[in-house]
Assembly symmetry: C2
Homo-oligomer: 232 residues x 2
């Protein structure tokens, strides 16, 4: 299973807000074996949201959208997602009921917030107000991190990729010195190895077979300089 | 002037690394009055990089690409950017010289790192090793934040948008209660106002005329409940 994430918000594109939602969703999807192929931030504009969601829906198994739900003038994500699927937005009865239970009395606010793409499955926001929605394989979540995380958890079982197994080895050598051994371990065990330089170089072994991941990590441990050795 | 940012790296798509480069570049471009229209993360794959860079080059005034430079097997950004422009990569003499000055002796490493899209303008990496490049209006920077930041600074003058002026007002009212006044201040002063809820609601006024920004902020200060008042 593969997926794309679309984060909506001018505040992300001006650098006013760090896009922690994207990183959080990427990690959860990776845990479930789902390959994230794109993460894209778009402005609070209906046409931009619609274009990108439409393209990704055609290409990937699932699209996850966050941000831009609610009653303010720049909350246009539901309109954008509706347009991506050639639908209108309409008042969702379940969503309107949730809002009234939360004490939202104003007709205007309830209507603005409870309008979802026609035929969407509404998602309850247990940590806040604005409801989410599922349209075919497109999931729309709020932008507030706690709300998004709780709503993702309520549908997490619907994201089911090939389970992968991960092992990590720390190397006390420059990344450039490791190239031949990284190529060799990938060939030898049929695994994928990423190298992430920091104070040491983290080698991340990923495999669909847990035994292959463990054997590749053991081979790397024998063949690269260990962090402990170099600390002496 | 508008722009798109493309960040390259599997480690971003698995949530192993927070995409701080994108946020940093967005803020610098916003400071210079450049509208960032897209921020997209793509995997370390030539075809994906090429497709996205090609699309954004056709649509936006500038494309900024970060990550995936260097000698390891998954550093394929230069090939991807070259393919986006229908070019080959070729050894750049200036880039090779910089690497040799850094003490890179191995022929293989120099070649792998100093190959840039044919006809590109090389960019010196003053904080690290892998050179960057400019191809038409596409800027390619390293992924290591300190290296990317220094390299962006060396070409920052080439990003020149319409100067905008920003004022911020903190409101001690729920965002939903502010809707009418946000609409009114935008109409009245011809400014854009974003609202960012947190402990208080930050209202960010943006205008091309500094006087309009100040007047709108003063109007908001008079018409919304202030944080100090509510603290009493």
């Amino acid at each position: 299973m593969d997926a794309a994430i679309v984060t909506v918000g001018d505040e992300l594109l001006t650098g006013d807000t760090e896009n922690t939602n994207a990183t959080w969703l990427c990690a959860r999807l990776d845990d479930r074996g789902v390959d994230v192929e794109r993460v894209t931030t778009v402005p609070d504009r209906v046409a931009d949201i619609a274009r990108v969601v439409n393209e990704y829906h055609a290409e990937y198994d699932a699209v996850l959208v966050t941000g831009g739900l609610g009653p303010t003038h720049d909350d246009v994500t539901m309109e954008g997602v509706a347009a991506a699927f050639g639908r209108e937005v309409e008042l969702d009865d379940a969503a309107a009921e949730w809002l009234q239970e939360e004490g939202y009395a104003s007709e205007d606010l309830v209507t603005g917030t409870a309008e979802l793409p026609a035929g969407a499955r509404p998602l309850h926001n247990t940590e806040g107000v604005a409801p989410g929605a599922v349209v075919e394989s497109c999931y729309v979540f709020p932008g507030v991190p706690a709300e998004m995380q709780a709503m993702f958890a309520s549908v997490a079982d619907e994201f089911d990729g090939e389970q992968t197994y991960i092992e990590r080895v720390e190397a006390a050598e420059p990344e450039s010195a490791l190239l031949d051994r990284l190529a060799e371990v990938q060939d030898r065990f049929g695994v994928t190895v990423g190298s992430y330089p920091g104070e040491t170089v983290t080698l991340k072994v990923t495999a669909t077979d847990p035994e292959a991941a463990r054997e590749a990590a053991a081979w790397l441990t024998d063949h690269v300089q260990q962090v402990d050795e170099s600390a002496e």
